[in-house]
Each structure stands twice: as C-alpha cells, then as structure tokens.
Amino acid sequence: MSPTNIFAPASTPADSIFGLSIFVVLTVAAIFIAVFALLLYAVVKFRNKRTDDRSEPPQVYGSTQVELAWTVIPVLIVVALFLASARVIASIQDAPRPPSALEVTVIGHQYWWEYRYPKLNIVTANELHVPVSNPAHPTPTFMTLLSADTDHSFWVPRLAGKTDLIPNHPNTMWIDPHEAGLFLGQCAQYCGVQHAKMLIRVYVQPRAEFDRWVKEQQELPHSGTPDGAVSAGQRVFESTACVNCHAISGTPAKGRFGPDLTHLMSRDTIASGAAPSTHDTLRRWIQDPDAIKPGSKMPAMGLSDHDLDAVTAYLETLR
Amino acid sequence: MYCLICAETAIFTIFVVAYLFYIGKSVSGPKPQDVLHAPIFYSICLLSSSLTIHAAVRKLVAGDMKAFARFWLLTIALGATFLYGTAREWIHLIFHDGLTVSTNLFGTTYYSLVGLHAFHVTMGLLALTLVALFYFSAGLRREHAERLEVLSMYWHFVDAVWVVVFTVVYVIGV
C-alpha cells in the first residue's frame, strides 16, 4: 500500500478529511451515475434511426417546473456539502491547543526542512520526530510554519492536509498520530529547482522512545579524539567555509543557512531525503552536492580526497 | 469607452487595494503623515478641468468654435498644471524627504498608484493636445462633437480616479 495514500489516515486531521471525503465522494458519485445514466439513455433512445423520415421532432422550448427541480435539488446538495465542510474546517483550523501539545517550529528552506523544538532546546533538520498520541489522552504536535525564502508546503498525506509555509506569514497546523511508524511526504508548493527532492520524513515514536530521542538531541556530540584533541576532520570543517552555513553545537560552527549537523548521524537520510545516509553517499554529497541533488544550494567545496575523507569521518561521529 | 473604463477601473482597484493593504506596514523609512501634504490646489485644477471639458464639448455642439477652443485649451492647461504639481511634489519627496519607490512599502505603493494615475493624465493630455492640433489645422468640425464626447468620458474617468486616489492617499492613509 502506498505510504502516502490520503485514504489511509493515521492522525485526526487526516481522519476528519477522510470521513468528509467519503461523504463527498459518495454524493458526487451518485450525481454522476444519475446524470450519466440519463446521458447514455438519451444517446441510445433518441438517436436518429435510418428508417426515420426527415421530419423534425417536437420542439420543446423549456419547462419551468423542470428548471425549478434541477435548481432546487442541487442547491440542497450544495447546502449539505457546505455544512459538512464548514464543520470539518472549524474542527481542524480552530482546534484549541492543549497544554500537553508538543510545539515544533518548522522553517522551510530551499530545499530542506528545519525543525526547532523551542521548549526542548532542539534544532534539527529534515526528519521530524513526534510522540504517538493516545486518543484517550491526546498529545498532539502543534507546528508553527515559517519560511526563510520562497513558498513551501508541508504535506504528509497520512497525517494531515497540507499547509503552506510563506515568508512573513506564519501558519499553524497540528497532527496527533495514533500509530507509531515512519510517515512520508514532501514539499507541495513549487519552491525552485529542487522542489521535487524536498522530502519529508516524520518519525512517530512511542512515548519512551521519543523521550530518549529528545535526550540524545539535547546532548552535545562526542566527536573529539580519545585524548580530547580536535580531529583532523573537525579542523577541515571549521577552517573551510562549512561553518558559514552549518551549525554543530559545542563548536564554533554556528551557521544557520544550512541544516544543523549536530546529530547528523541520528538521521536515516541526507539532503532532505534525497539519499540514504551511508558513508559513500555522505562523502559524495560533500564532494559534489549536484551529483545527488542538482541545483541544491550547497556548493562543492573542492576538497582534496584526503580532506574529504577526514571531514566525512568527523561528520560520522556526530551521533 | 465604457468597456475601457471598466478595464482601467479594475487595474486601479488592484493598486488601490494594495495601497490600503500596506498602510502602516512599512518596516522603516518616512511615513505618510510625515511627508505628505495634500495637493488641494492642484486637485482643484484637475477636477475643474472636468467642468471645462464638458463646457468645451457643449460649445462645439452649439457650433461656437472659438468658445470651444478656449475651454479646450483651458482644460489642457489645468491638466498640465496638475502634472506640474505632481512633479513638484515628487521632487520634494525624493530629494528632500528621501522617499523613493524603493525606500519602503509606502514609497512603493505611493509612487505606483499616483504614478499610474499621472500616466493616465499624461495620455489624456496627449489626446487632448492632438485634438487641439486638429483644431488649429482647421480640421475640426461640429460633427466631431460625438467623438470628443467619448474622449471627454475618458477625461472624466481620470478625474474620478483622482478623487479616489486622493481620498485613499491623503485622507485615509495619513
């Protein structure tokens, strides 16, 4: 089954939409069948038979009753659909935020996702971790959506409808996934060259696992050499322009243009899902980002093979 | 001409909406209340030019060519005075107050809206001048009154737009 099927909801907003959509689709299907049947009947019953003379059929210019009927009935259908929609709109958009809600700030960038958990002091990228929400005691995740550059849109079909990230126009959305697992999605508002590879991965975790993840994210990475000295790779990282764009907690690297790399190795993918995180892909990415995601904003730094190996080794210590 | 006026109204409406939406939203730079001074005199000139063009056409219908010419030229003069006033205002804003189209949202929306209107005034003046040239080359006759009536509708429209622009920029926005 498709991991991005809108008809396989796993969270209340997606559930509400699913329920509404069944009602709408059934209504619309009924209308279609009725009108199509009439069309088919007309096409068959009233075709000109070759045995016909050339006389014209009775000319009927109109009928007020019929016009009234097929005005009133659609109006009633419209009212029903409208009321159903209004209810779901309100239930999703105007849902109050409970105090138990997890707050995440999502910042859209050209072509990656920044996730900040302000109350937990976590800054990460591209892979969103949230706790499972028990319908009896909900612990939803409320997201504030911002953009650092162009318009983006956060769409994980099984969790919720999409909401746009627009610069200077903060938006909010919320999810409360009832089952653990990995949920996929991607940017749904054309934002530039690599819009297609701005993928989303949402890891919904049972409470204990989520808390463990939070703790790990809050720690500083242990990336020094056993005697405490700075590794060769770290030196390359800090002396090349890497620090202009990237941040690693506990080091002089404080750039915010690119993803935070503090816990890079805790992620399954790199380049916002464009490639799995393995030694070879990571090395290739640093060597030439365009080989994996042509047009991404990260430049090829022109490192020598030796420096490349050192930096890759360093980044692989960032758990 | 009515159709053209509808289309132009739609364009101006969008610029007016943008202006209204952005009132008070400039992040920095001069504010309207600091630098704008309502151009009352020049507005009166422009609005009275509607009266003079109307009178001109009436005179043409009546066949009084000399009176027509007087009113027509007066219309052009009043319109030109209005443009002169706009130019003066802009020179002051740019060189004295430091407000340009790129300074802030107020600058962008102000120059766009007032500029769009001034552009339409200019186009109108060109047409009016063309008619004046026709008059002086003795090509203009009484039968042309209907066409000049249509042209004057455009001129009335330009004046009506100024009423709206003036209200939005110098009254509401300040």
Partner: protein, 556 residues
C-alpha cells in the same frame, strides 16, 4: 438571404504569394483575423504538446534523467503559460471573431482596426515568450525560458530567487498579450451590444452571442488585475519596489490574491465560449431548439458574476482564517448550481430529439460527459479540507485538464468540424474525423482518468522526478502512454482539415440544415458577410424560413 454572392475564392485573377501574404498581414476582416487566431493557436498547441510530452517522458519512471530539473521546470511553466494564453485564449477569440458578427447579422466587428491590433499584440506576446528559449543563459544572455510556474508565485519571482531575465519574459509576454485580450473583449462587447441586425433584440440573439458577450465582460474585469499585478512585479524587479518583498513587510499572499482574482475568471473566459459552441451544435444535431434559452442566459450571467467571487479556492492551503475558507467553499459550490443547470439543459435538448452523430456532435457528447466529471471533481475540490489533501497534487492537475482538454478543447474540436464547411466551403472527411475523435478520446481518458490516482496517493505537482515505492509508478506509465494517442489525434485533426481544404467536396451554404444566420450566406462568406442585412423575428431565423407553418416566433 442571398445565395449568389461572390466569394473570395471566385477571383478570376490569381494573386501572387507576396500580395496574398500582405493581404493577410494587413487584414482587418473579422473572419480573417479569426482564422489567424486559430492557426496561431494550433501552432502553439504543437509547442505546448511537445512540452507536455517531454514532461511525461521524464515522469514515466521514478528517478528518470531524461531532462534536468532546470529544463523540466521550464517545461511546466511554458506548457501552462502557452496553453492558457497562446492556445486557449486565441482559440476562443478566434471563434468569437469569426462567428459573432455573422451570427448577429453584422458586416464586421465594431472596431476592425482595434481587432487587428489586438491579434498582433497577442502574436507578439507569444513570440516574446518563445524568444526566451533562445535568449540564452548567463550574464550576457537575454535570459532563458521562465521556470516559475504559470502562476509565478512571489517571492520566487523576485530578483533574489529568479536571477536573470527569464521571469521578465513571462511578465512582458503576458502584459502585451493582455492588452490584445482586452482590446478583443471591448470589440466583442461593443459589437454584440450595438451591431445586431434589425429584429434581433437581446433575447433573440443566438446563445453563442450571449456567451461571448459574457466572456468579453469577464476578460475586461479579470485580465486587468493580472496586468496590475504584473506591473507591480516589474516595479519590484526593476525599480526596487517592495510589493511582494517579505523582508520589507511585503506579502507573498497578496500576489496570490491578485493573480487568482484574474486566474479564476480566466478559466470561465475559456469555458464559456466552449459552452457557446456546444449550445449551437447540440440543438442542430438533436434537431430541437435549445431547452430553456432564458435560463441558459441567466445561468451564464450568474456564472460570470459568481466566478469573480471564488478566487481564493486556489488558496485554501495558504493559511486564511477558517471564516474566509468557509466563505470560499460556499461561493465555489454556489457556482456549481448554474453550471449544473446548463448541463441539464443540454441534456434536455437532446431528450426527445433525433440525434445525428456526425463528428461535431460526437465531440459535444464527449464534452457533456467530460464536463460533468470535471465539474464533479471540482465540487470535491471545493470542499476545502479535501483540497488540503488534494490541492497542488496530481488530482488537481487531472481536474483542470479534464476541464480544459476534456470539456473546452473537445467542444472546440467539435466547433472546428461544425464550422469548417462554412469557413472553407468544403466538407471534411468524416471517416477520418471519426477515427481522429476516437484516438483523441482514448488518449484523453488514458492520461487524465488515471492521473487522478497518483494525486490520491500523495503525488504533488511540479516535480521533475519522484521516489519509487509510493505506488505512483504504474499510473505515471499509463498517463504517459495516453499522450501519444492524443498527439496522434491532434495530428490527424490537422491533417484532415488541411487535406479537406484542398480536396474536400463542396459543402454548400448549409450542410447541417442549421438555423442561425451564418448558414444563410455562402460558404465561405463574402468579405461583406451578407449582401442584404437580414431582418429576423426569432432566435432561429432559418428555422422560420424552413418551417413557415410553424415558426419559432410564435413560441418565444
């Protein structure tokens, strides 16, 4: 109604090619300008089709590398912009230009020179847009093709994110053609309101005239906001303005509002003339008067009005308040009511008739079926929460192509075949036309029926490639296959019409036994349309002539 008029094809002297070219380039005749619009549109249809084919080939499998992301992004931008502004609009204007004066008994449009000017402005816009392909990249290039999407959302179009001049090609090409569009609209409105023949009160006018009148009004009100927005974009890009500059407090959302205030009525600008064509063809081939003429007129006007109030249903996901979202749900659903009424009226016209399935009628029946489906998927999208899932996905792409290709283009193809005999004096080849219909019909359904499914499975639009394992692969293959059937269909249409022009049988004035004024003059009509301006008494003047014992004006 004179039948022995001199047609242009009867000239005894054969004119040289340069002379004939000069005639066409300087023409102000509404019929020739109509044909120029249509030929122009067909050329650009090929261009847009090639762009679509490239996209579909790239998407035939995940992680394909037929074209780079840069090229793909240019393809969807150019495809959308071309098809809307340089195919659909010119087709609609071409039909209006050719038919409206003929059907209201006039000799030409109200402003023939404005008419010519408007056409050439549209042509200039098209050439300007396509020049972008050869303008060239780099600091010294004129700029490459735009890649910001056909609705060019801010701030992607700002100087920061759109380096070079590619966006300017988009802006300027549409500004120029927009001037042409408004000019044509002014012409149509004035012609219909002021130049009807004696006896043709507004309520005796053919539906085609009413619908094109509505379309003209919509163009005047809707294209202007686009012009305004584009001027603002130019101010931002060239004069350092901040209309859409988030850093200075500007708003990306306001571009969306301005664009869609244009964008939504625009689709009705395209659809309403297609309705007009269907409203002429269906009665003639059902051998009955149109059912509910007054209601059809009122429904059209209602659609025109309501269409100006639904625009933000393109913006359900941008974060408007629940109140605003709810309002636009209501207005969007409201427009479904008059639209549905029209479908029922066409159906009722066929009901009890003696339907002849010549190719124009086949296209119109397909139009009815496909417009029904398109309208219903539109109703599903009007449900804002459902749109939160399906907006900007392939379901949406399938929906609007269903409207524009399945409804509008099918009706237009029907119109091509219906009026071809009038325009050229020759009949087209019916068996080939039927083949062409089925090719195109199969291709259309292969592509656009199955295109809904990836959308339902989470595939967004405007992506140059996609991940495997999401269940999208097989559907993309089927969608791509359909393209080739459609291409074959369109080429067959062009071939049939071209060949029939040279070798078709003579058609006579009125091959379909129809009832509106254009069928009373010769095929092709002379330059002056009618030797004597007709005087009419009903909506179907030729019916009155053919059935003097039972004329229409007794019942109207």
């Amino acid at each position: 109604m004179s039948t022995n008029t001199i047609a242009l094809t009867d000239f005894p002297v054969s004119r040289s090619f340069p002379l004939r070219l000069h005639e066409w380039v300087t023409t102000v005749d509404h019929k020739r300008l109509g044909l120029l619009y249509i030929v122009f549109a067909m050329v650009f249809l090929m261009a847009g089709g090639i762009e679509a084919t490239i996209m579909r080939l790239q998407l035939i499998r995940p992680h394909n590398d037929l074209v780079s992301p840069e090229v793909f992004n240019r393809m969807f931008t150019m495809h959308g912009t071309t098809m809307i502004f340089f195919v659909a609009m010119p087709l609609v204007f071409g039909f209006a230009n050719y038919l409206v004066p003929l059907m209201i008994g006039a000799r030409d449009m109200a402003f023939p020179r404005l008419n010519a000017f408007s056409f050439w402005m549209t042509a200039l816009g098209g050439l300007l847009l396509y020049f972008s392909f050869v303008g060239g990249d780099g600091l010294y290039g004129a700029g490459s093709a735009p890649d910001v999407g056909w609705f060019a959302y801010a701030p992607l179009t700002s100087r920061t994110f759109s380096v070079g001049h590619s966006t300017d090609f988009w802006t300027l090409a549409l500004l120029v053609s927009g001037i042409g569009s408004v000019g044509t609209a002014i012409n149509i409105v004035t012609t219909v309101l002021c130049m009807r023949c004696p006896g043709m009160a507004l309520r005796k006018m053919p539906l085609l005239a009413w619908l094109n009148l509505t379309m003209g009004g919509l163009v005047i009100l809707a294209v202007s906001p686009l012009t305004a927005a584009q001027l603002m974009l130019l101010v931002d890009r060239y004069l350092g303005g901040h209309f859409f500059d988030a850093q200075a407090g500007g708003s990306a959302v306001i571009w969306m509002h301005f664009f869609w205030v244009f964008g939504h009525p625009e689709v009705y600008v395209l659809a309403i003339p297609a309705f007009a064509i269907a409203s002429e063809i269906i009665p003639v081939f059902s051998r009955k008067a149109i059912f509910g003429y007054p209601v059809m007129v009122l429904a059209t006007i209602a659609i025109g009005f309501i269409s100006m109030s639904v625009w933000a249903h393109h913006m359900f996901t941008v974060g408007m308040t629940s109140g605003a979202n709810t309002f636009f749900v209501l207005s969007t659903m409201a427009i479904a009511v008059p639209t549905g009424i029209k479908i029922f009226n066409w159906l009722a016209t066929m009901w009890g008739g003696k339907i002849r399935f010549a190719v124009p009628m086949m296209f119109c029946v397909a139009f009815l079926f496909q417009f029904l489906v398109a309208g219903l998927t539109g109703v599903t999208l009007a449900v804002a929460p459902f749109d939160w899932q399906l907006g900007n996905s392939y379901y949406l792409v399938a929906h609007f192509h269903y409207v524009i290709v399945g409804a509008i283009l099918f009706a237009i193809f029907g119109g091509f075949y219906y009026w071809f005999p009038k325009v050229t004096g020759k009949m087209y080849n019916e068996p080939i036309a039927k083949l062409q219909f089925w090719l195109f019909f199969i291709g259309f359904h292969l592509t656009f029926d199955f295109m809904h499914i990836p959308g339902l499975l989470g595939m967004p639009r405007r992506i140059y490639t996609y991940e495997p394992g999401r269940g999208w692969d097989i559907w993309n293959v089927i969608v791509t296959i359909g393209v080739f059937f459609q291409a074959a269909g369109v080429l067959a249409l062009a071939a049939n019409l071209l060949l029939s022009y040279f070798r078709g049988k003579a058609a006579g004035n009125d091959p379909w036994d129809a009832w509106t004024l254009e069928w009373s003059t010769s095929s092709p009509p002379p330059a002056y349309n009618f030797a004597v301006i007709p005087v009419v008494r009903s909506r179907r003047p030729l019916w009155d002539l053919k059935h003097p014992e039972d004329p229409d004006w007794r019942y109207e």
